[in-house]
Symmetry: D2
Subunit: 318 residues, 4 copies
């Protein structure tokens, strides 16, 4: 029912991974039910089927890049919209059963992406340990808890869940790495504008790519709409057809973004609106402030121009 | 009174010039009063003062180019709007008193622009005649009628008015030359759209000219608005400040032109609307047809996009 | 002979007009011969025929706008190039025979454009005088000298030439009005770059005007080339075909302007180069300074980028 | 040694995955040594250290999207260049020990991305089987060979290597899915142009994203350079700084691409060249043909424009 806050949440499992940690930053999810799904597709299908009110899935991460399966599901499956984004610092710890000494660690379980991100730390502190690939950060922690491995690279939530002692924290080589998750729901009125919002679109263009992409950017630029992300993917439907995923600054309720959306609707083969939602200003990005509308492009400027046009049409001035 | 057809017309005199001929192509002017003015400024001031309902003045001609004084008066004086354009083929005849033989012509009176346009004809048919500069096509004809000169280069209307015989017609070297006149009135509701209209604007931009001009063109291009004329003139107010005179295809009542106008209003230092009026499809331009709105830019496409945006904002689809 | 300074000059006559005054600001012309021509076409034909080394003709003026006949001659006749520009303040004086009192002036001879520019002054100081149109500023002065008229509005040079007393000077309503003249010669190596040059082009584009004009501006903008003038004129050859007259900042010898010219050559129906020459920094425009190349677009930046590309192609870096 | 064909190849392991299969499509690799690496970083480091001549790593795949770790390594580590691309249809088979009946399969090992891509097939033909996540397609095949699982979803090469019988082939739901791999080497002269090449760039821009991205696209568009891929990634160095990965049509040796590269070098914060190499026209893309240079942008057109400019500068024409 539109307007009813979600209480049943799905997330990309298993438990103890970053997706669960991200979900639990949302108070409603902390109070509601949280069900792990085996894949992004399963999580989203649970929402489509009405078995969940919302699903938390990864959109992009610092190492793996955009999560193609999420984008494809949003662009082509039965329509869903993003209602929230959660940006989570990708913080890794080395967890082990209580009493384990770092010097005694011979085997470290880790998801390949996790061990890649901690390569420098491992070379320095555990140069002789064997790294064993496992399927997820959660299963690494689980394996360390059962003693299958001496230690695990995992998320803090994974160490907590599996009652591991933290031998070292913040062991990633790039301390600023983040993963960006989307909370996805069935279509409904977007959350109200906050003055610092993101709008995500899937824009289809055919054939001439530079020319067509220039047209898309011109539609945005003349309305002062900025991009914080752009990614092309082949549609897989026809040769030379591309879909662009755009994260625009602003909210569908803003006049200038609304006008830009209408422009895209007219010039592109297709546009799918994937949601307007508050930008997540996470603690690691304190310095980044919302950008005010450029000169001449505020809602007030639009109102002034509309009033002027009305007077012109009425012959009241020239 | 708005809506009342004009009955009192001023025009750039003197009588017997192309401006009078152009004015008389308008049925209302043929029925009304027609008063010559000594300058463009005087003609327009007569309208501003209420002494005339409308004034016919030249905007541009094939030889002299844009008529700067008209543009400046429209851009900077008390606001007036163009309600009609008249395009008149610049057709010259050689007129003389009845009974004059071509072979007997020794002196030809002509406005310097007129003799320039007929240079080839004069070299061929009157290589030994002396050309005498006079102030207007009308005074050339008047001088031939009194016998001051053997013949005159003038407009057909000048020959008629001064009862001259036409020794040769269509003597201009470029038979396609035209002058474009504007009928100018006090501000009021524009004439209704015809589907083949022109909108004239004076657009002020400051400083960086290529960048600023690119912005102006992008505002037009994203709405599919075409230009049939562009001219820059320094504003004379501050160094590096320019005003662009634009003739756009379309009518202020069109959705896409209205949106483009609002865009210009927001990004330019100033925009003055100088009128929307039917394009004059004169007989010499039969082949040139009105250009339909590009794909995606008709009023219907705008309405579709607006309805789509309304549904997005209501959460009815994504 | 290329390299030989011109000694025989033609100019748009008659004597005593602004064109002569402009020509005499050039030391070479002051020393050489100066022959008035009856029209712009005649002046340019004298150069083409070898009867003159160079001709001074008006390009644009503050009141009349662009001088179409000059543009057309340069764009379509046998090729000529501009080697110099002269910007002359349009300064009017009221001249009369020695001993004439201002209060005694009943008739004033003036070219219609001149009296238009002095309308305010006439209203204030000679409200009861009759203004009589004449064909040029020079003939106004001549008429005052013979006593045909009590006074004349003319250029200072006209008063001097006809030995008139100056009853009032700087009588134009807009003291900043100027006329811009071009010194035109047969094709030859352009004058060397000065760091503050203008390049004039005639650029032909066909059909879709906003799109094609956007292409032209993009070719300039990506090389940081600025425009100080743009004017469209129909070519008169085919419907919907336009020629744009562009004044660009920079010299054909500059790397970035050279690259932009090549770009225009490739994308336009035709480009005619009309000369690179020093910008005339006249005394009334003291504050306007040459604009340095934008960041990344100096000749040094071009050289750096070319060297980088050469290394890339040699496989020396990535 | 530049020019010596590579003989020692690294690839993203383990053996029996798509990367090995892609590598073996290259005759030189089929003849040379092929060493699996545990991560993209390890594979590329082997090349940097001189332990391998080239490494084959994934760039993007239909399901997972761009492979961020590869892009980051290429953009920020010690410079390497792509010398070849290999596009491999992502073809999955169901492999099992000889004699296994499809109806007897109760457990299926699969990498999560592989089972996601075969979801439809599994639902139809093995609705009751349990899918067990494993770390790679290679380890799925290995587990089926040892009898740990009844069957495995794997690449054809995995079935062959582990002597599995193929119970079903082409079981992916989207038969057109592909993975795109890059063969990466130390910097050296690029392979010669073939007329159908790709150039990959990492382009850094700061701050205003739409404006800066518009500048980048304009540099490409005015030279008729097309894009087949664009992806933005935050640089991780400073807030609001982005790097764009571009796949452009053409070769660094092409005149127009060379000019575009120089333009990017001048306007962007930084540009890293990541290689020019033949486009891989794989069998599934037979219909897609190389796009000829747009009108006016061939190497011949560039040569013509350069010759014209040289004549202009010499004063030989206008």
């Amino acid at each position: 029912m539109p307007g009813t806050p979600p209480t049943r949440f799905a997330f990309l499992g298993p438990e103890g991974t970053f997706a669960e940690q991200a979900l639990r930053t949302l108070p409603a999810a902390e109070r509601g039910t949280r069900t792990p799904a085996r894949s992004v597709g399963e999580a989203l299908d649970a929402v489509r089927a009405g078995d969940a009110d919302a699903a938390l899935v990864p959109l992009e991460n610092s190492i793996g890049g955009a999560v193609g399966v999420t984008l494809d599901e949003l662009a082509e499956g039965e329509p869903l919209v993003i209602t929230r984004e959660v940006i989570l610092p990708v913080e890794f710890v080395l967890g082990a059963r209580a009493g384990t000494q770092l010097s005694a660690v011979r085997t470290v379980a880790a998801h390949p992406q996790a061990s890649t991100q901690c390569r420098g730390w491992l070379r320095t502190y555990l140069p002789d340990a064997t790294v064993i690939d496992v399927l997820s950060n959660g299963s690494a922690a689980a394996g360390a808890a059962t003693g299958e491995y001496d230690a695990a690279i995992c998320a803090p939530v994974g160490a907590t869940r599996h009652r591991l002692a933290v031998l070292a924290d913040k062991i990633a080589d790039h301390p600023d790495a983040v993963t960006r998750f989307a909370l996805v729901a069935r279509p409904g009125p977007p959350p109200p504008p906050t003055g610092d919002d993101v709008t995500t679109l899937a824009v289809y263009i055919a054939h001439d790519r530079v020319g067509a992409l220039l047209s898309v950017l011109m539609e945005l630029a003349v309305r002062g709409v900025n991009l914080s992300r752009i990614e092309s993917r082949p549609t897989g439907k026809a040769l030379g057809e591309y879909v662009f995923f755009l994260d625009c600054t602003g909210h569908v309720a803003d006049v200038r973004l609304g006008e830009a959306l209408q422009g895209l609707r007219r010039v592109c083969a297709d546009v799918r609106f994937l949601g307007s939602y508050p930008r997540h200003r996470w603690s690691g990005a304190e310095g980044e402030q919302p950008v005010p509308a450029p000169a001449g492009l505020s809602d007030a400027d639009y109102a002034d121009a509309a009033a002027w046009l009305a007077r012109l049409r009425a012959g009241e001035l020239s």
